[in-house]
Symmetry: C2
Subunit: 337 residues, 2 copies
C-alpha cells in the first residue's frame, strides 16, 4: 500500500491512452467501434482498459454528443396493472440495448403537466420517449407538441402512423361481446372506463360494433373510473333495473367489484347475470366466479415499443408490428342464458 499520495481518481480516456501508448483519440475510436483501427492497436487499448478498469464517463459523452443513451418513460397511470407490466419490460428491453431508463409520472393529465413532463425529459436530453398515454387528451397534447426526439405512444388508439403501438382493443372487446351473444344474451350492458381514455373508447366501440352487427339493442354505457370500488357501487345500483342479463366491464377490477355488488344484491353470477372483464389480471382466474376476460400481453407490448423507438433513434427502418390481438379467456363468470 505504498501510496504516492495520489488522489484516487477514476481513470479517464487519457490514462488509458498513456498506458496503451496511443493518443486519446485512438482510445475513443476503439470505444466507438471505428473501423480504421489496426487489430493489434485495438488489442493494446482493450488491455489497458481492462487493466485500469476504465469506464467511459457518461456525462462527458452526453455533453459533447448531446445524446444520453437514455429513454424516458412518461406514464400517467403508474400503479395500474397493465402499464406497470409494460414499464417493467420496457426497462429490461432498454437496458439490454445499453440504454438507461428514466421515468416520469403524471400526477394529473392537464396539458401543462404534460408539457412540464416533456420539458423535464428534454432537459435530461433523453434520446427518445415512450409514452403510456392512455387518455385522448394526453395523446393529443403529445402529438401536437414539438418534442424534438422520437416518441412512441403505447396502448392508444390504433393510429396509422408509425409512432403508435397498441393492442387491438376493439377486437378484444368485440370478441368478449360476441362470446356473450353466442351464449344467447340479448340485453348486454357496458360498464365503460372514463370518457377521456382511449382504451375506454376502443373497448366501447368493440362492444357497440358487436351488438349492431347482431342487431341487438345497445344501452348507454355506465361511465366508471376503472376501480373495483366503482364496480361495486355500480353493481348495487344496477341490481334495481333488471333489463339486462349480461355486463361487459371495461376492465377486470370493475368486473370484480361489479360481481361483488351483484352478490350484495342477491343476484347470482353467472346464473342470473353474466359478467366479463378485460385485462386478465393475476387474480382474475381465482375470484368467485372465475372471471371470463380478455388477456393482454403487456410485456410484449413494452418490448416492441422499445424496438420501434430504438430503430427510430438510430435512424433505421422501424419495424412494423400488426396490432397485438388480445386473447379471450373463457372462465365461469359467463354462462348461457
Amino acid at each position: 500500500m505504498a501510496a504516492s499520495g495520489e488522489r484516487a481518481r477514476v481513470p479517464s480516456i487519457r490514462d488509458v491512452a498513456r498506458l496503451a501508448g496511443v493518443s486519446h483519440q485512438t482510445v475513443s475510436r476503439v470505444l466507438n467501434d471505428h473501423p480504421s483501427i489496426r487489430p493489434e492497436t485495438r488489442k493494446r487499448v482493450e488491455d489497458a482498459i481492462a487493466v485500469l478498469d476504465y469506464k467511459p464517463n457518461l456525462a462527458a459523452r452526453a455533453l459533447v454528443t448531446s445524446r444520453t443513451h437514455t429513454i424516458g418513460v412518461l406514464s400517467a397511470t403508474i400503479g395500474e396493472f397493465g402499464p406497470t407490466s409494460s414499464i417493467a419490460s420496457i426497462e429490461d428491453a432498454a437496458r439490454s440495448e445499453g440504454y438507461s431508463v428514466t421515468t416520469v409520472n403524471l400526477p394529473e393529465t392537464t396539458p401543462e403537466a404534460i408539457g412540464d413532463a416533456i420539458r423535464q425529459l428534454g432537459r435530461e436530453q433523453v434520446s427518445g420517449i415512450v409514452a403510456l398515454a392512455p387518455q385522448v387528451r394526453v395523446f393529443n397534447v403529445l402529438r401536437g407538441m414539438a418534442v424534438g426526439v422520437p416518441l412512441v405512444s403505447l396502448q392508444t388508439a390504433s393510429g396509422s402512423d408509425g409512432y403508435t403501438l397498441s393492442a387491438d382493443q376493439v377486437a378484444g372487446a368485440r370478441a368478449v361481446t360476441e362470446h356473450l351473444i353466442e351464449l344467447g344474451h340479448t340485453d348486454i350492458l357496458h360498464l365503460a372506463g372514463p370518457q377521456d381514455w382511449i382504451e375506454a373508447e376502443s373497448r366501447m366501440r368493440g362492444y357497440l360494433d358487436a351488438l349492431r352487427e347482431a342487431d341487438l339493442p345497445t344501452f348507454p354505457p355506465i361511465r366508471g373510473d376503472w376501480t373495483a370500488d366503482f364496480g361495486h357501487f355500480a353493481g348495487q345500483e344496477l341490481a334495481r333495473r333488471r333489463d339486462f342479463t349480461a355486463v361487459f366491464a371495461a376492465n377486470d377490477l370493475m368486473a370484480i367489484g361489479l360481481m361483488h355488488g351483484f352478490r350484495d344484491a342477491g343476484i347470482d353470477v353467472p346464473r342470473e347475470v353474466s359478467v366479463v372483464g378485460f385485462d386478465d389480471i393475476p387474480v382474475a382466474a381465482h375470484v368467485w366466479p372465475p372471471l371470463t376476460t380478455v388477456h393482454q400481453d403487456f410485456p410484449t407490448l413494452g418490448r416492441r415499443a422499445v424496438e420501434i423507438l430504438l430503430a427510430e433513434i438510430r435512424g433505421e427502418q422501424t419495424p412494423k408490428f400488426g396490432p397485438a390481438v388480445p386473447q379471450l379467456r373463457l372462465r365461469s363468470s359467463s354462462a348461457s342464458r
Copy 2:
C-alpha cells in the same frame, strides 16, 4: 423571419451573460443562489434567462461536479403490487425535490446481477439509491458492497441502522394472527412466502410469536411463491388434511388463490375455514368472501425513503421514522370458530 443564417442553438450560460452584460460566472452564481450578488444584477440575469428561455445543461453540470441529481431505484420485483406503488411515490417525491429517477430492474437476484445493477447506477453517477430488495440475499449483498453513494433499503427487516426503512411486518402479521386467535381458532396454518424473502420471514415470525404467546400449537409453514396460482394449488392440497380451522396467507394473492382452492374442494370460507391475507391489494375488499387482511401504506413508505435518502445526500440529519404500523382490515373471510 429574417434569419441571419445562424444555426438555432440552445442558449448557454455565456449567451445569458452577454445579454445581461455580466460575466458567465455571475450567471452561474445566480443559478446556484450565491449570496454575494447585488439584487439589481440578479434581476438583470434573471430577465436574460427568461428572455432566452435558458435551461442549464445537466450533462455539463454533471461532468464538472460529478453529481447528477439523479436517484436510482433498484427493484427486484417490479410488477408486484406493493413495490410498484412505492416506486410511483418515490418517483413523485424525488421529482418534487428536483431529482430525476432512473430505474433498474433485477431479473434475477444473484450477487452478480446485483453487482451489475449497482455498477450500472454507479456509471450513471446517481446521487443515491433506493433499493427495493426484499430478499435476504439481495439485502446482504447490498450491505456488503461498497456502493459509494447513500443507499436506502426499503421494505426489509426492521434493521436498526439508519439505512433501512420498513413497515413493521412482524407487528402486522402478529395482529392478524391474534385476530384469528380471538375468534377462537386454535389450529392456524401459515402459507408463507419464499424462504429467501425478508418479508416472508417477518410475517412468519409474527405468526409464530402470536401462537407461542397464546400457547397454541404451531405448524410447519407451507412455502409458497406469492402467486395466486400457488395459493390455488395449496388450497386443493390442504383440503385433504382437516387439522386446521384457519390459514394466514403471507400475501393477498395467495390468500385469494387459497380461497379458490378451498372452494374447489367444497370447503366453505369462512364457515369451515377462516382465511386472512396481507397487503390489502385493491381487489381484496371485493373478492368473495371479502378478505380480512393487513393494510400497508406503500406510498408513505416510498416518500419516506426519498426523504431519508435526500437528507443523506445533502449531509443533513436523517429523519428517523418509527416503523410504519400496518393496519388490520377486518372483512368477511374470517369468522369465529
